[in-house]
């Protein structure tokens, strides 16, 4: 089994109505149920939400407030799953609640450190 990471992006909220506590709970439940479905099959490997404050650093000592300087979207969190192929991971992502709220899910494979490659590179450089 390999690992794949899903990155959840949403448009940053510019104000407007805050959802009610009940709505928040319902959304949370949806997310937890979706992750729970994946975890029930033994395919869960980690998740976190990311805070909305932060900085983006760029070369030349530039630092910009916020994670969403030039693009309107920001990464709200990630989920790592275990699957045999990228297609299997994509299949899991199709029922992600983020897609119901106008967000996106990017699915990427997590590369593991390959002992052979590192030692081969080392030898070549010598």
């Amino acid at each position: 089994m390999k690992e794949f990471m899903m990155l959840f992006r949403n448009e940053k909220m510019e104000g407007g109505e805050m959802p009610s506590a009940e709505q928040m709970q319902a959304v949370m439940s949806q997310w937890q149920n979706w992750i729970g479905n994946i975890a029930a099959q033994g395919n869960y490997a980690g998740t976190n939400r990311l805070g909305s404050e932060g900085k983006t650093l760029k070369p030349g000592n530039v630092s910009i407030d916020g994670p969403y300087a030039e693009v309107k979207e920001m990464v709200g969190g990630y989920l790592i799953v275990k699957a045999n192929t990228l297609d299997d991971a994509i299949e899991m992502a199709k029922s992600c609640p983020n897609l119901l709220y106008g967000g996106s899910v990017e699915v990427r494979s997590v590369l593991s450190m390959d002992a052979d490659t590192t030692s081969a590179t080392f030898l070549v450089e010598k």
């Binding site: 439940s29 937890q32 149920n33 992750i35 729970g36 479905n37 975890a39 029930a40 099959q41 033994g42 869960y44 998740t47």
Partner: protein, 417 residues
């Protein structure tokens, strides 16, 4: 208490205290000597009390005799006495009287040290439980064999091997340090959890024995909570969990020792004092932000102390299971979660997720599928229950599943007629 009941009762409560104090004093190498002295003490009691009647203070009598027997042993085994004395009084080499301290504090300290000795990952889990039952809880080899549905010889060998291993590893019998706690406490808690499970789920016919296992697991857990170093959130959460589960002990079986399912239990037989205790320890456990699987399991068990069958309750349980699966995966947790999903969001949704689980070697998987398909597709339900029946391994289970099959068959007859 009648005099002929008193000694067995005292054996259960005092043997382990005497053994623990002596082991603490002698070290792991001489564990058999500790056991012998403790056993001899009770033999003496059986003889003397039979002839001369009960002493005024039976417990004090036992302690006095144990101390005397130990002093005698030390007198007649000088080398042994010197070795122990060297370990205790590293500065003095004198033949000082070795104090056998049977105060409440030393008894508790000794038992705590022994819990950590016994729950050591260098011996197998079943050996840990066996030793815990024998040394920490005062159960005999016979009783342990009964609970594990095996023979005396198997248990005896298992205990001997385990003690041998502890000796070769030269495990020290000492108060756990703060550093060791973080490392070893999880293992200790697992052993207590498994011990409780033995009592709760054992297929042995002896209901009183099983209940005593649960009580013993709780007593040992209580020792941990009473001691400052081991009074951790996880220990409190586990104790809370055990309280909630045991609150239903009397309602779970009928006079014929058949299993009564949760939804059919008589709430009036639930022990509400234990439920209150569970809430108390769960609150204790939640004082800082540590979250362990025991917290979540206790939370789920707490939900079950309210019998109402609402989607709201089941959604709380579902959310807890979602969290639990993120901390620790197991097929049983996955199955229980799927059941909660069905209760909260309906069978259709749950069936889709259940089919994905694909736990084809797990007998409970088929019971769950049977449950989910009942009233939606009774042919499939029947098929799954029949598979579950072939995999069932206790009479209680077979009875429950057969009842469900009979019910389905009766319904289909009704529909056909």
């Amino acid at each position: 208490m009648k005099s002929n009941e008193l000694l067995p009762h005292l054996f259960r409560t005092e043997y382990r205290k005497i053994v623990s104090v002596l082991c603490y004093l002698f070290g792991i190498e001489y564990i058999e000597i500790a056991e012998d002295i403790a056993s001899d003490t009770f033999l003496a009691a059986a003889e003397m009390w039979g002839m001369k009647g009960l002493p005024e203070n039976p417990t004090a009598w036992l302690y006095t005799v144990a101390k005397n027997k130990t002093k005698n042993y030390l007198k007649h085994n000088q080398l042994f006495a010197q070795k122990i004395s060297q370990e205790i009084n590293q500065s003095t080499y004198q033949k000082e009287e070795i104090e056998i301290d049977l105060s409440v504090k030393n008894i508790n300290d000794s038992q705590l040290a022994m819990i950590f000795v016994v729950c050591n990952p260098c011996i197998s889990e079943e050996a840990q439980i066996g030793l815990a039952l024998n040394l920490l809880c005062g159960f005999g080899v016979d009783e342990i064999a009964n609970a594990f549905l095996t023979t005396k010889e198997v248990i005896y060998k298992r205990l001997q091997r385990a003690k041998g291993k502890l000796k070769t590893q030269k495990i020290k019998i000492q108060q756990p340090t703060c550093a060791e706690i973080n490392d070893r406490l999880p293992n200790v808690l697992t052993t207590l959890y498994l011990l409780f499970n033995e009592g709760y789920y054992s297929n042995s016919q002896n209901k009183i024995l099983r209940k005593n296992f649960c009580l013993e697991a709780m007593r040992l857990n209580y020792l941990l909570v009473e001691n400052e170093i081991t009074n951790q959130p996880s220990a409190n959460a586990l104790l809370s969990l055990m309280c909630f589960h045991s609150s239903r002990f009397d309602a779970r079986t009928n006079e014929k020792d058949e299993m009564i399912l949760y939804e059919d239990q008589d709430e009036k037989l639930w022990n509400f004092e234990l439920i209150e205790k569970g809430i108390f320890y769960l609150n204790n456990a939640s004082k800082n932000s540590v979250l362990t699987k025991y917290h979540i399991e206790a939370g789920i068990a707490f939900c079950h102390t309210q019998k109402e069958d609402t989607p709201k309750k089941w959604n709380s349980i579902l959310q807890l299971y979602n969290q639990l699966l993120q901390i620790e995966y197991s097929p049983v947790i996955a199955l229980n979660r799927t059941y909660a999903l069905a209760k909260a969001n309906g069978k259709q949704v749950a069936i889709i997720e259940a089919e994905k689980l694909n736990l084809i070697n797990n007998r409970f998987y088929y019971s769950l599928l049977g449950n989910l398909y009942t009233d939606l597709d009774n042919t499939k339900a029947l098929h799954h229950f029949q598979t579950a029946l072939t995999l069932a391994n206790s009479n209680a289970e077979k009875t429950t599943i057969t009842e469900k099959i009979d019910k389905l068959a009766a319904n289909s007859e009704k529909n056909n007629s």
